[in-house]
Symmetry: C2
Subunit: 156 residues, 2 copies
Amino acid sequence: MRLLFIHSDHLEFEATEEAADGLGETEGVPMDGRMEDCVTVFISVESDDAESIDGVVENALAELDDVTGQLNTTDVVLYPYAHLSEDLADPDSAKTVMQDLEAGLEAEGYSVLRAPFGWYKAFEISCKGHPLSELSRHVSHEAPDEEPEDEPRAPS
Amino acid sequence: MRLLFIHSDHLEFEATEEAADGLGETEGVPMDGRMEDCVTVFISVESDDAESIDGVVENALAELDDVTGQLNTTDVVLYPYAHLSEDLADPDSAKTVMQDLEAGLEAEGYSVLRAPFGWYKAFEISCKGHPLSELSRHVSHEAPDEEPEDEPRAPS
Ligand SMILES: [Mg+2]
């Protein structure tokens, strides 16, 4: 799973068109929404995540706790995003992961806005611009201490 | 090189803080800017791009021509973005690629707003939300016909 965190003054979206017939989520998610002063998390669920959805969700929740703790917020937008990986999971696994992340965060007391999978969406986002306002992480279903260290990122 | 194209109602940025001492561009680029009704191109220059900067710039310009032609615009924001790849080029190569892309587009008559490399930046972007409004491409310095076909992308 690839995660891109943007510390945002706001994120707003509106679903415009189903990306393929029958693909788009229609239940349990809003077709539009807006959140202020939040962390927006763009998420690509990857093919090997499907081997252990519970494992990758658990590890992703730990990363989310870490990042939201650094940014001192409990308001989170979960936004499915295919463009962070070239090795995407099948759509059913991806939807399950997104749903499980939402349930896990809500169980921990977070306020969550989740954008629907499988729709083209208009959006507007602002990024605060401080040094921690853009972070990316790679999470697998393996135990975190088996994972390689984050590689250093050249800033841009 | 990884390219993420967002067909945007607007893109606005402001440099806030140099990411490391001496790293940030300060000449030939504005420290803030805004463009309306444009294509925003988020760009990660990758390590193997440094093997032939002229080659990768030429191939990236061909992709830019293709995408801007589909979207019927000649207004382009070039935005350096480290989070699209885990195998980034050295900063000097990345800056040269960004500068050469700008010069190449301007020589073809495009209006270009280029965001500075090496700075943390606040930004706001809107995405139009039609089916072609988000596209990603991988470009190398090899001739395009040696490259593999774009892999199909599951929408999200
Ligand atoms: Mg210029």
